[in-house]
């Protein structure tokens, strides 16, 4: 599979709330369906809020909501993010692959009957292959962003703690045949949300401008970039 970088073309609002969509344990709510065309990918942005009470002792309960995407063809609902506890309006961006897709919310068994989740607005963003990028070269497999912080105890044994996030860094070189293509890309696309589809999965995120390394050979321009995504390496849009 050729790696392809997709950039944004338009957005459509597919749901307008605010409304309580889920109340109580083990419920699933799914949005209206969107059709992601062949040779395109999509991104669903959803505003959600969760009301989950703390226990009488003031402790956080195990109530969690899963933000899910649904594939109508295979009739499969996949967990994409787990949210624990109460949240006020928060926007989540979930890239999705070609096909008929829905976004939604599912509650776990610890959700109480008075706990609920709400959705305000959902937008569908269409992404098409970036016309300025001629090819992607030297694509590195996704690199995890979490850290294993190592601490030495006084007498020399190891303590470690895992910190950081579950996201991914993907390094690649974008090839532009002409400097015009490069200029257009940098002017209109470089600092917006993008999606890459490659054999390692589908990842959405931003290019880190500070870490980019432009160069040119003859008329061609090369841009070594790092994309930061909040999808987990190896999983991409296929899981948490």
């Amino acid at each position: 599979m050729l790696p392809t970088l997709y950039s944004h073309v338009e957005e459509t609002e597919i749901f307008e709330g605010p409304s309580i969509v889920v109340t109580g344990a083990e419920r699933v709510w799914l949005s209206p369906m969107v059709n992601v065309e062949e040779n395109e990918v999509g991104m669903l942005a959803m505003d959600y809020a969760v009301q989950a009470a703390v226990t009488s002792a003031g402790e956080i309960t195990r109530a969690e909501v899963a933000l899910v995407t649904h594939n109508a063809k295979s009739n499969f609902t996949r967990q994409r993010k787990i949210i624990r506890g109460s949240r006020t309006w928060t926007r989540v961006f979930l890239p999705v692959d070609t096909g008929q897709r829905k976004i939604g919310i599912a509650t776990n068994e610890y959700f109480r009957s008075t706990d609920n989740a709400r959705v305000r607005r959902i937008f569908y963003h269409r992404y098409v292959p970036s016309t300025y990028v001629h090819a992607i070269h030297e694509l590195k497999p996704p690199k995890p962003l979490y850290g294993l912080q190592m601490q030495n105890t006084l007498e020399g044994s190891v303590r470690t703690q895992r910190t950081g996030n579950t996201g991914t860094e993907i390094e690649m070189t974008l090839c532009f045949l002409t400097h015009e293509g490069f200029n257009k890309f940098m002017e209109t696309r470089h600092d917006s949300y993008m999606i890459i589809k490659c054999r390692y999965g589908l990842y959405g995120g931003y290019l880190n401008g500070l870490d980019s390394e432009p160069s040119s050979v003859g008329a061609s321009v090369f841009l070594r970039v790092k994309m930061i995504s909040d999808q987990r390496p190896g999983a991409g849009s296929n899981g948490i």
Binding site: I60, F123, Q151, L154, E155, T163, T166
Partner: protein, 534 residues
């Protein structure tokens, strides 16, 4: 130490706190919706984009402090955020959104901090925001604040009359509760009593004027007792007895330099140590000394004395109790150890822990005086301020003159171990108008009391050593002598000496100046009775 579940216990004690779905450090800050936050929707919500959390708690004051730093891209967390204030503020593409965090992160907004290892959180603190600092270059927002005890420190009292505490005889424990209640704080206290005699500690004066802070009054009262105030994770102020410190007391956790101690700092300091304390209560005062401090810490080369005014310490025992409490506090300042370890969340102040560290050669029990938590990208750690788990005793006075011998007892003296006794006195013959005054340790208990057949009861709080009960005859009555009979009971009602076990009270009919049997006021007969408490 608070109870924990097995998962959290395993996560805390593991050298590898790094699983994806378990054992990794985590933190949650839950913000309560303030009334002005119209867009907030939910009653409470997790604070997003937290970069670091620091939290300090200390035995010196129940108040805890915290600092939270969050990423604040686009100013979404700013309290003055307004939709479209600077054109279309966009979170993404063409979608302008109003922020639910408008009017939320402001002083007095309530929040709670929870630390944990992955899914197992423990609530650590409830507090309110003091200060919000927005750094535009770094695009961060810094929130600092204090726990609920802040109300006692910064709010002023609102008495209904002139004083909040109008009852001079109120127990110090209850007074603390009243003062805290006046500023809206919940507390759990107990009646403070002197050990042994169980005399209550009373406030002795009206207190709590308008514009006074309750914390100022509370600190001076509580510091001189064997109790401390500790705020729990829900913001309730709890009074706790300071445990009896000893190296052999049981440790709830062991810190070892080969397992978890990352930093260690040991200090021995005598700058705040005194070997003598003068405790004053009005015109009365006593000097107490610790020969242990004088000999072992000052090597008999330095003499340091401090003076403390304690209004409620109206007896020698209470003043001794204050001195003991202050010497104990010095013991805590004498040897101090500070260690940094991966956070052990259930540890509480005053918990006893065992520390084994090779360089400082510490290998004994210490108790926790302060805990500083730090949650950053580097991990979740705590710094524990520990003090030696030992106390200094008040020495028995060496050079004081020997106590005066007790007066000779007219009635048979006896010795008890009880702190309280009650003695019933009645007339076993005709009620003919026998009257007497009763004095106990110099204080008059009864004035011209009529000795009837039914009798009366004397309740005697005994101090250690000889106690003198004195009967002074007022009237021998119309017939024969002044007479009475006794029955002595313990505090629980058990009879110690029944009627007839002791000789009767008899005062001769001499120097009587009237028919009704009144004695000449200058020549009243008296009988003393010495009761010794050991």
């Amino acid at each position: 130490m608070k109870p924990v579940n097995v998962e959290l216990q395993q996560a805390m004690t593991s050298a590898w706190q790094n699983g994806k779905g378990f054992r990794r450090p985590s933190a949650a800050v839950i913000i309560e919706r303030p009334p002005a936050a119209t867009e907030f929707l939910v009653t409470d919500a997790w604070l997003p984009d937290v970069i670091s959390i620091e939290m300090d708690t200390d035995i010196e004051s129940p108040g805890k402090t915290f600092t939270i730093i969050c990423s604040n891209e686009n100013g979404i967390l700013s309290a003055d955020y307004r939709f479209n204030k600077y054109g279309d503020v966009r979170l993404f593409h063409e979608v302008p959104i109003p922020s639910p965090w408008r009017n939320v992160l402001l002083p007095e907004t309530e929040l709670s901090i929870h630390f944990g290892y992955n899914g197992n959180y423990m609530r650590m603190m409830t507090g309110t925001i003091d200060n919000v600092n927005i750094d535009s270059q770094g695009r961060t927002i810094k929130i600092t604040g204090r726990s609920m005890y802040k109300k006692a420190l910064s709010s002023t009292l609102q008495p209904k009359d002139t004083y909040v505490i109008n009852d001079k005889n109120m127990n110090v424990g209850l007074a603390v509760e009243e003062l805290l209640k006046n500023v809206g704080l919940e507390s759990v206290v107990f009646d403070l009593k002197e050990p042994g005699s169980k005399d209550p500690f009373i406030v002795t004066k009206k207190m709590g004027l308008r514009r006074e802070h309750p914390a100022d009054l509370i600190t001076s009262m509580v510091d001189s007792t064997f109790t401390v105030l500790i705020e729990d994770q829900l913001g309730v102020i709890r009074m706790k007895n300071v445990p009896v410190f000893s190296r052999s007391s049981k440790a709830v956790y062991t810190f070892d330099d080969t397992i978890e101690i990352l930093e260690s700092d040991f200090e021995i300091d005598d700058s705040e140590i005194f070997n003598a304390i003068l405790i004053k209560c009005g015109k009365e005062a006593n000097r107490f000394k610790s020969s242990t401090i004088f000999r072992n810490i000052f090597h008999e080369k330095t003499y340091r004395e401090m003076e403390v005014e304690v209004p409620w310490a109206d007896t020698y025992e209470k003043r001794r109790y204050v001195a003991q409490s202050l010497f104990n506090q010095m013991a805590m300042r004498w040897r101090k150890l500070s260690i940094t370890v991966p956070a052990v969340l259930p540890l509480e102040l005053l918990d006893v822990v065992l520390v084994r560290e090779r360089i400082s050669q510490v290998n004994w029990n210490l108790h926790i005086r302060a805990i500083k938590y730090s949650y950053t990208y580097d991990g979740l750690f705590q710094t524990l301020e520990l003090a030696d788990n030992t106390g200094f005793k008040v020495s028995n006075p060496e050079h004081l003159p020997p106590p005066p011998p007790p007066p000779p007892s007219d009635l048979p003296p006896f010795t008890v171990t009880d702190a309280k006794l009650s003695i019933e006195v009645w007339d076993f013959s005709v009620e003919d108008g026998d009257r007497m005054n009763v004095y106990f340790n110099g204080r008059r208990l009864k004035k011209s009391v009529f000795i009837r057949n039914k009798g009366f009861t004397l309740n005697l709080p005994l101090k250690k050593g000889p106690n003198v009960l004195k009967f002074v005859g007022i009237s021998a009555g119309t017939m024969s002598t002044l007479s009475g009979r006794f029955r002595v009971r313990k505090e629980n009602g058990a009879i110690l000496y029944d009627a007839g076990d002791l000789p009767d009270l008899e005062m001769a009919r001499t120097n009587v100046i009237s028919k009704s049997g009144y004695y000449d006021p200058k020549k009243r007969p008296s009988k003393t009775w010495v009761i010794t408490r050991v």
